[in-house]
Symmetry: C2
């Protein structure tokens, strides 16, 4: 009998063998653009051993997650599931599954994440055309309809809640305009799902994606994805497979559907977390949850005004989940952020791209949408700015 060598010939080097202390995580109030704090029950749900990804108990949990995602998005889309990655992976999944090389894709860009859609779509071989708006504004339906007529794209992509600007993009009528032109509509709901009214089917959205760590109050690393029948039809007609194996909906639907064909190992503990986050959301109910986000945001806006601070976005298009606050002249935005973090354990976000140094981004999402947190933040902000 051959005995496997216990220790092979090269010697183990201890060069990178750091000796670490056990993990210490500071207690932060996360009021930036995300991640937000997770609901304590969501964190507790992760605190179990993994199950196998084909365990009957796990498969049942997957069905529950799918069903509650449909409720949260207000859609009947059968292909509604969670991507094993953060929100950007789900963003990439919508584009990878919607785009065939050579497709013309129209992206409505009004902030950082619109640009990301452009960059990603190009990598999938799309001929990308854009319409653009200054960072802080929304498109009108007329502008979108005109661009659809001019460019006649195969896919149109737009961000519902632009995390870089705090703008809520009205979507009424956009889906109908896309259908009139025979194109698919992709919508980014990363900063709206679970906090801002969304009616995916009423709005005739074909593909959408989100993240877990904002309006859903879950830990990051697992991300909602949905794809309606028109998008599935295009997927089934493809000449070449999706140019991304991990995110290929043609394969993933065989795992999330009744066939249960193994695709890749699922992020089991994050599924526990997402299931709990969605359960809590369904318990609260969408109307109550949206109302809570709206009134907490209004409370913040009033408090900011009292401090003499102004919001970057007109109230009509302002997101309840994420507020961009103008940095007063002469104030070092970064220094304020650092002081809030180190002296008050509060995280707020800085500006991105065009708005770098010009705004702070304040998120009140999911469990964190609570007037008590607004009080804590305003008090700290007052201290720091004084």
């Amino acid at each position: 009998m051959v005995t496997a060598p216990s220790i092979p010939s090269p010697t183990v080097r201890d060069t990178h063998r750091s000796t670490l202390a056990p993990l210490v995580v500071p207690d932060r109030l996360l009021l930036g653009p995300g991640p937000s704090n997770a609901h304590p029950q969501v964190i507790a749900a992760m605190n179990h051993q993994p199950l196998g990804h084909l365990d009957p108990d796990y498969l049942a949990m997957m069905d529950e997650v799918q069903e509650l995602l449909r409720y949260t998005w207000q859609t009947d889309h059968e292909l509604t599931y969670a991507i094993a990655g953060t929100g950007s992976a789900a963003m990439e999944a919508t584009l990878a599954n919607a785009i065939e090389p050579g497709d013309r894709v129209l992206v409505a860009v009004k902030g950082y994440f619109g640009h990301r859609l452009v960059n990603m779509a190009q990598r999938y071989g799309a001929e990308v055309v854009t319409i653009q708006k200054p960072w802080g504004e929304a498109f009108t339906l007329e502008e979108i309809t005109a661009a659809l007529k001019t460019h006649q794209p195969a896919v149109m992509a737009i961000v519902h809640a632009e995390t870089s600007t705090g703008v809520r993009q009205p979507l009424e009528g956009v889906g109908a305009a896309c259908r009139e032109q025979g194109c698919l509509l992709v919508v980014d709901t990363v900063t709206s799902l679970g906090g801002v009214p969304i009616f995916l089917d009423d709005w005739q959205v074909d593909l959408a994606y989100s993240c877990s760590q904002k309006g859903l109050s879950c830990a990051p690393g697992i991300s909602p994805f949905t794809m309606g029948p028109r998008a599935v039809e295009k997927l089934e007609r493809r000449a070449k497979p999706v140019a991304n194996w991990y995110l290929d909906a043609a394969l993933l639907r065989q795992y999330w559907g009744s066939a249960r064909v193994y695709h890749h190992t699922a992020p089991i503990n994050l599924t526990y977390a997402l299931r709990e986050a969605l359960r809590l959301l369904a318990e609260e109910g969408l109307e109550a949850r949206w109302q809570r986000h709206q009134s907490t945001a209004e409370y913040l806006w009033a408090g900011l005004a009292e401090l003499g601070l102004s919001c970057h976005v007109p109230q009509e298009f302002r997101l309840p989940t994420l507020t961009t606050v103008r940095v007063p002249d002469g104030v070092d935005a970064k220094a304020v952020g650092r002081q809030l973090l180190t002296e008050h354990n509060i995280e707020v976000g800085g500006g991105l791209g065009e708005l770098a140094g010009r705004v702070w981004r304040i998120g009140l999402m999911g469990h964190n949408s609570d007037p008590q947190h607004v009080d804590t933040l305003l008090q700290a902000l007052k201290t720091v700015l004084d």
Copy 2:
């Protein structure tokens, strides 16, 4: 002042609003091909609120993870980090970053995951050529060298620990042969990292990937990735960007490196878990850990022989982390697996592809590599088979 509407025009439908009971997770002993049970301290590490992905405390943790991954893989590669997805995402990351469209890629296929490499590489525009072995055998260095000479590929990919067959592929000399032909070497270490001797730099491996939920005893959803200087050079010479935004190392290196440029939200709680898993591994030490895996596996093999069961792979090439056991004639492999799960709360894996119905796959990985678990399994197996 315009007041945002509290509740918009469509009515919320309660169609998919399931009422769920709080989460109940059964207590399974996971002795299949993965996930394995996580170390209890790893589960406890997840049990904290998220931090922001640019929080100084989180950035420090990223450095710690990188350093300990270098130790675990025995590499000095600067570009060593964790992918925000499961092992297949890290597999896709190595191919996406190594392959340019039109590159010839040689894949040594000796099981299911070799075929997956072929499928993925094709999606990145590679001209794929393969060498093949029956499921249960390993390649010789001569076979690999001959194929490299014949095909002169730009990239060669091979699985170190084939999860579908239980074969350990010897890698001594393969890296040198690749360098002689001027090609990059990609190695799958999904079922070896943390349980089977690996010397990435001694073996001259250019890119490698793994998962968290096997030899590292972490929860799934975050995955080790590493890329050496020759691969980085090829990346920097690319004419077109990597055909995958989420996994693009040219962007991710700016976040994991000193520039700290935001790429995408990290799976924060899984980073806590991975850091703890790697900390425990470094505390134990690689030699001790490899030795533990080897002797626990030998204990299993002896016990299986006592039950009259035989292993599919010759001992010389048998993985200590994953054993394929031949299903005796007349025994229903699936029924046995189901009975182990439902009556004994033990998960073992079934066969994949060519080995479907012909083997069980028994994993003894990370924290689960423990003779007590072997006793529990053998006892249950005896009861079920009797």
